[in-house]
């Protein structure tokens, strides 16, 4: 690969004639690939995903199987990160925990994104009464203390599965994305090409999917990405205080919650620091990618 300086000079020299042949998407991809932090984020996230996918090949231990003969052991050649309070292998739990944390983060993000897209599109496209109603609803949900609401719902349901957990997160965190989608749709609504599309008889459905969503995709993708990082933190926090995915399913959050025992906190840092670092690194990587996407989709950042 060339050095960055070389790269810039080359781009500037072919600046004018070249740009005309590039679509906005190509320009965005180009800008994204120039962002080193974002690339580091992609590589790190990729490695973590690989670790999660190939967990069975990286360890022979079953992350759910307890062994009461081997409780709270320190690191050994067999259990390289020791065992937890029920004698489960910490390294296996770390790898399989990545699966759960990433799955929960990703599906909670997807679920929230779909609610946000539908409600935001309805509000922004149709305006008027529908808009008013949906906006008051977002105001209300935003005003509710998120954690309190989520905890109360989880407490009511009693038993938590990944599906329920994802749903609870999604129904308490859709308003931000709804507002973003609505905002961009409202401004698009006034544009002339929409009037044109309508004049030639395009249906609402077609206008939304062919014209609105592609034009608003930048901020939506950026916010969805950053949201996934938040979701991973929320999952770990709820699991930490004991209201998340229950044992024996391994998640990074409930691995760290073992450190609420002062004995493990004090004598077995190898048990709770790795999952914490796992969350930190994953969230950092996703945030880098999100910031990179934000710069890439922002046409103004091109002229820097």
């Amino acid at each position: 690969m060339q050095t960055s300086q070389n790269n810039t000079i080359q781009i500037e020299s072919i600046d004018q004639p070249d740009r005309k042949h590039r679509s906005p998407l190509q320009l965005s991809v180009h800008r994204f690939l120039k962002n080193k932090l974002a690339l580091v984020g992609i590589i790190v996230l990729f490695v973590i995903i690989l670790g999660a996918i190939f967990a069975p090949y990286l360890t022979d231990h079953d992350p759910r199987k307890s062994n009461l003969m081997l409780v709270e052991q320190g690191p050994s050649s067999d259990n390289i990160l020791g065992t937890d309070a029920s004698g489960r292998d910490n390294f296996a739990r770390l790898l399989y925990g990545a699966r759960v944390s990433l799955t929960v983060g990703f599906s909670a993000m997807l679920f929230t994104l779909s609610i946000g897209l539908v409600l935001g599109a309805l509000a922004g496209y149709y305006g008027g009464k529908i808009d008013n109603f949906i906006m008051r609803l977002t105001d209300l949900v935003l005003a509710l203390p998120f954690l309190v609401l989520a905890l109360t719902i989880i407490a009511l349901l009693g038993k938590v599965t990944i599906g329920i957990f994802v749903t609870v997160i999604a129904i308490t965190s859709w308003p931000t994305l709804t507002r973003i989608v609505r905002g961009s749709f409202l401004s698009l609504r006034e544009q002339e090409f929409v009037l044109g599309a309508r004049a030639i008889g395009a249906s609402d459905f077609r206008i939304i999917f062919r014209h609105f969503i592609p034009n608003a995709i930048g901020p939506i993708i950026v916010n969805a990405t950053l949201m996934m990082a938040t979701m991973i933190i929320i999952e770990s926090a709820l699991s930490f205080i004991g209201f998340g995915i229950p044992q024996p399913t391994p998640t990074w959050g409930n691995m760290i919650s073992e450190a609420q025992s002062i004995r493990i906190l004090r004598y077995h840092p190898e048990a709770w620091i790795p999952p914490g670092v796992g969350i930190l690194v994953t969230v950092l990587a996703i945030n880098f990618i999100g910031d990179g996407l934000r710069d890439a989709f922002d046409p103004k950042s091109d002229r820097r």
Partner: protein
Amino acid sequence: MYQYIIRRILVFIPMLLALSIIVFGLAKAAPGDPLSGKIVDPNIDLAVYEQQREALGLNKSIPVQYFNWASSVARGDFGESIAYKGRSVQSLITERIVNTLYLGLVALGITLVVAIPIGIYSARNPYSPLDYGATTFGFFGLATPNFFFGLVAIYLLSINLGWFPAQGTTSSTGLSGFAEFKDRIHHMVLPGLTLGLAGTATYMRYMRSEVLDVLGSDYIRTAKAKGMSDRNVLYKHTLRNAMIPIITLMGFEFGALLSGAIITEQVFNFPGLGTLFLSSITNHDYPVIMAIALLLGVAILIGNLLADIFYSIVDPRIRYD
């Protein structure tokens, strides 16, 4: 402006009602009723049970029950706790809320004292070593779950170095006057830092971008061109304008601070509203759960209301439609 403020206050009222309905509805949806917690003896006479239900108004229709509940809440009566027998919900909450308020104030204090000066410095010296340091800190501060930061702080500063106590609000009850105050502050340092971490990162980033924005505006160039000193440009023009969004942010970040407090209190075993809330959930102590949920919700609503009103007062450009 007044029209906007009045309209904004009018919106506050239905929101308050909706909040109370949601809280009431969630508690109603819960399995069992306030009485099921009171049945200790399985041989209890069913007739007495029914009598008790009637006395508590649990056999009335749901809207009537809601109305009764809402009117006693409006008078400040949240009923009696189930887990702590014979104690009123108010007394439990007033005992704990002071600790949570102190914790929140310490965290907010740390946040503002650290974030604002560094944010200003970063904006005035962009791409300087300190700016890079602050940006790096910001990335890490936003990516670290606060409970993990709290545990690392306990592990390093409390267990290994012994500088700060790891839990509670006081070490002994025999202290008084200044010694007691010092002891309380000493206990507050780690939880305060933990709760303040995410906020510090957020405010720092905000402050930096706001000041950068203002510094690039025409009126700053005018002020400099007419020979105003850097000091005056900073204090009279830049900060006044850059602080507006920060103060608004404080209103909206209030909810995040409260949610963070619940988790932080759990890490430090800190006797505040958060730990009370979590233990009430475990004990199915619905009167306490409802009261705290309502209290936190109202606090957030008021935070948002004040932020909006403040914004409309200081920024005359805001649209009132």
